[in-house]
Amino acid sequence: MISVHELTKRFPSGRNEVLAVDHLSFSVAAGEVYGLLGPNGAGKTTTLRMILGLLEPTSGFAEVDGLRSSQFPDEVKRRIGLVSASAGLYQWLSAREVLLFFADLYGTQPDQAEREMARLSELLDLGEYLDRRCATLSTGQQQRVQLARALIHNPPVMLLDEPTRGLDVFGSHVIFEYIGHLRDQGKAVIVSTHRLHEAQELCDRFGLLHRGRLAMEGNLEELREATGRQTLVEMFMNSVGNLFSISTAKDRPA
């Protein structure tokens, strides 16, 4: 459902350039949850934005359902629901107005949007604050509305960028539980997160990004075999430590 080929992105920075994503390749099938893991600045968000067609890749390409994001951005966007930690909600609109507005933006018919909203509000327990202004909702409630907003047009692909940032344990649990539900629905899901313990429980496969490059990829068994470590946290620390020492050695003048 999602495939990424040699995806590269360089940003101009004064007279120089910063390499944010470096020849990245991976794929995610329908009904699969892919964990895109990595430290801050590893290129996770940039990768997700290029998949969605929000950023033009410097080279390489991303495809969703066989459509290249840079060539058919609107077609690709219609197939994707995006939940981002940095995303906000319209403070002067109610949760219901936000959901119906986004349903309309994605071309969902009004009756279908109402049905979908009823279903999502039951699943995510939005009922009691559906008609409250978004400014008055708590962080957890806002994040649930965000999830509902991303799902209101029933997309086959979900991109979740740090969906649990700023949430308490209960809030995170609701989100992760729902991600499992998305897999059961047959959606292709990419989750970018720092919560490695939960990611370990939830994701089918993992890609570990460091400085824009895919340092490791595979399911948990494959990664355990390759690294000799048991948990993602150990693998992550080990891998990032190794890569860090390699890159610093490389950078050191001879």
Partner: protein, 738 residues
């Protein structure tokens, strides 16, 4: 994995690709949502409603205090009137006294207030000027100078019949010429004061005469005419009528600022922009929806302000003082609102462009404060006394709207200048929208990947075949004011000989239509050959161009003639005079110079610009026929303004010629046949004028404005059909759409 494959094969229901109309509807609903969200914010309501409701009454009180009480201490308005002789002084004094008495008696009997008091308004009248105005009549040697220098508010030049002395022998009419400063409120008011009293005297006499039935004779005693003088240098007063439009414009700006920031930088700061651009709506569509919302709020603010201003002016009676005797009419209010729409369209786009750069509300504010200060300068320039809407001011954004609104309020609008203001503002507005679209849609702006603005405007590294639409429009936005300014400046250079004037005209044409697009193309690293369509045309295009070039002028002539005959065009005396003057001046110029300056150079550079640069930009973004029509229209608009006259009769023929030239360019893939066509067309006109006397002796004149002989028209039709048929045989040259 099998399970997931099975799930993959099951179709997921998600919205299908929308039809074009549905997409437009969705963008409309998006604009409505933006507007709804903006209007729910109390800060918008504050700017929108509360400010005008409070500001205008406060300003009206301030005006009255400044204008009325400061005129003379002691709470009394005194009109200073100048006359030329002692006899005149006595006559004027007696007439005003009689008029005063008549008005007083009439108002007392009808229980109506004195209309003069409405200058102050019923509420304020008692508190500000409890006594009615009085007059001070002085003897002057030079009435016009005295009024121009502000020594007198009004001069009255009395022309009495010889037989009458100080005593007026009615009913022999007395002519009174009122000399006033048109732009001075107190001067206009003094004139209205005197006129009303003279009218009362006339009316009394009419009444008396009508009672004497059967008696013949004239009933008018005093005939008044007005004569205006410009204020003497250094003595002019502050122009109040220009303050009102400046305020309206500043309030409109204020209304648009908050939504512009909130819908761009504000959305980015709150994190809602990413969700919005992740939706399947083109970025241009998103920007247009935001633009519509900002424009709607700006217009709402403008409408509320205009309404509040009108109500304040009407209720306070400041109308006559600010806008002359006729006060404020609904037509003028609507015209000014039209101008505000135009201005808001331009400024909203400018605001969106700047705020799109900002990553936070605070950053956007820091961009807009300098803009507001910069905007104040041309706005205040518009308030400078005696400043006329001409030259560079007519194409200076904001100042031109302030001055045109002032002229509208004062009822002395020049249609040519109005045309220049409207066209230039429209061009600027479109340029600003296109720039905003470019800024809003860039990755650099959305994700702050550019380190500075210079990165954003960096020259592209790759060569492109055609200019972008925004670059082409910006080139036009620079060219239009430059075109107007250079043509007007050239017209002012009276000392130029006809030949050197022609040479300068040629240089201006080369600079405008050659250098501007060439510089734009080089800066944008365009492939010059493709951009300017400098290709070798098919051979068949040459005879086609020749036939069309020789056969189009009768159609242009007949179109203009028919427009006059069907009253679609009023006889443009100004343009006719200008054309006659030009013809006279060019009479002794050698033919070769005329051909170089009026035929070959315009044909070459205009094709280079309009069919080369502009048409390429349009064709890269739209269907060929749309590009042909639009480029033709723009070609027509550029021919609309000839130095100081608005040549409306040129719009349709020039547009049609532009369309034909564009068709030839699209079919042949080259601007060169168009150059031949253009040169032939122009040379027929130049030669017809050169040999018009000889032609007239042969009976081939067209000066009596009659239709051309049928045989000529038939010949032209045959040639044109042949030309079009030949050009239709060529294969359409395609441009890669972007």
């Amino acid at each position: 994995m099998n399970a997931s494959r099975e799930r993959e094969s099951a179709p997921l229901e998600f919205p299908q690709r929308p039809a074009k109309g549905e997409l437009v509807g969705r963008m409309g609903r998006l604009a409505l949502k933006e507007l709804r969200e903006t209007l729910r914010d109390r800060r918008t309501i504050m700017t929108l409603l509360l400010m005008p409701v409070l500001v205008y009454p406060l300003i009206s009180i301030l005006f009255q205090k400044l204008l009325i009480t400061n005129l003379r201490p002691g709470d009394q308005v005194i009109y200073r009137i100048g006359v030329e002789s002692e006899d005149d002084r006595e006559a004027v004094r007696r007439l005003i006294m009689l008029g005063n008495k008549l008005i007083k008696g009439r108002d007392a009997s009808s229980d109506k207030p004195d209309n003069d008091k409405t200058v102050l308004g019923p509420g304020q009248h008692r508190s500000i000027a409890p006594k009615p105005p009085t007059v001070e009549i002085s003897l002057r040697d030079h009435l016009r100078t005295s009024v121009a220098e502000g020594n007198d508010h009004l001069g009255i030049l009395v022309r009495q019949p010889e037989r009458s002395g100080a005593e007026l022998r009615l009913p022999v009419p007395v002519d009174c010429q009122l000399i006033l400063q048109e732009h001075s409120g107190i001067s206009r008011e003094a004139a209205a004061f005197v006129e009303r009293r003279f009218r009362a005297v006339n009316e009394q006499l009419l009444e008396r005469r009508l009672r004497q039935l059967g008696e013949q004779g004239r009933v008018t005693v005093i005939r008044t005419t007005r004569d205006t003088v410009e204020p003497a240098r250094g003595t002019s007063s502050f122009e109040l009528a220009a303050v009102i439009p400046l305020m309206l414009i500043l309030m409109t700006i204020t209304g648009a600022v908050y939504p512009a920031i909130d819908l761009t930088a504000g959305e980015r700061e709150r994190g809602t922009l990413e969700a919005l651009i992740a939706a399947p709506i083109p970025r241009l569509g998103l920007l247009l929806a935001k633009y519509v919302a900002v424009l709607a709020v700006a217009l709402l603010t403008a409408a509320v302000n205009l309404f509040a201003m009108t109500i304040t002016v009407l209720s306070s009676g400041l109308g006559a003082l600010l806008f002359g005797e006729s006060g404020l009419s609904l037509t003028v209010v609507m015209q000014v609102f039209g101008l505000l729409i135009l201005f808001a369209a331009f400024f909203s786009a400018l605001l969106l462009t700047l705020t799109s750069f900002a990553r936070s509300f605070k950053e956007a504010q820091s961009y807009l404060i300098p803009l507001m200060l910069i905007s104040l300068a041309p706005g205040l320039l518009g308030v400078v006394p005696g400043l006329q809407l001409t030259g560079i001011l007519a194409v200076t954004p904001l100042a031109n709207i302030v001055l045109l609104s002032r002229d509208l309020f004062e009822g002395n609008t020049d249609p040519v200048m109005a045309g220049v203001v409207i066209i230039s503002t429209l061009v600027y507005a479109l340029a600003a929208i296109l720039l905003a679209a470019r800024v809003f849609g860039s990755d650099a702006i959305l994700y702050g990947s550019a380190s500075s603005w210079s990165d954003f405007f960096r020259r592209p590294t790759e060569q492109h075949p055609a200019p972008s639409l925004w670059a082409a429009w910006w080139c036009l936005a620079m060219m239009f004011p430059a075109h107007y300014l250079l043509s007007s400046t050239l017209a002012q250079m009276m000392y130029l000989t006809p030949v050197s004037r022609l040479q300068q005209t040629s240089l201006v044409a080369i600079l405008l239509f050659g250098e501007f697009p060439l510089a734009a193309a080089v800066l944008a690293r365009l492939k010059l050959r493709e951009c300017f369509q400098l290709n070798r045309p098919p051979m068949i295009a040459w005879p086609a161009a020749l036939l069309l070039g020789l056969s189009l002028w009768p159609f242009a002539y007949e179109i203009v003639l028919l427009m006059y005959q069907w009253n679609l065009l009023a006889l443009n005396t100004e343009f006719s005079k200008l054309a006659e003057g030009m013809l006279k001046a060019l009479q002794d110029v050698p033919l070769v110079w005329k051909l170089v300056s009026l035929v070959f150079i315009p044909a070459a550079v205009e094709e280079f610009c309009f069919r080369g640069y502009l048409l390429s930009a349009l064709r890269a973004r739209m269907h060929a026929w749309k590009a042909i029509l639009l480029s033709g229209l723009l070609f027509g608009v550029f021919h609309l303004i000839v130095t100081d006259a608005l040549a409306l009769e040129r719009l349709l023929p020039s547009t049609l010629l532009g369309v034909v030239l564009a068709v030839v360019c699209v079919r042949s893939g080259s601007i060169f046949p168009g150059m031949l066509l253009h040169a032939c067309h122009n040379s027929v006109l130049v030669l017809a004028i050169e040999y018009r006397e000889k032609l007239a002796t042969l009976g081939w004149g067209t000066e009596d404005q009659t239709h051309l002989p049928a045989s000529w028209l038939l010949g032209a039709v045959v040639c044109a059909v042949a030309g079009f048929s030949l050009i239709a045989l060529t294969r359409q040259h395609r441009i890669q759409r972007t």
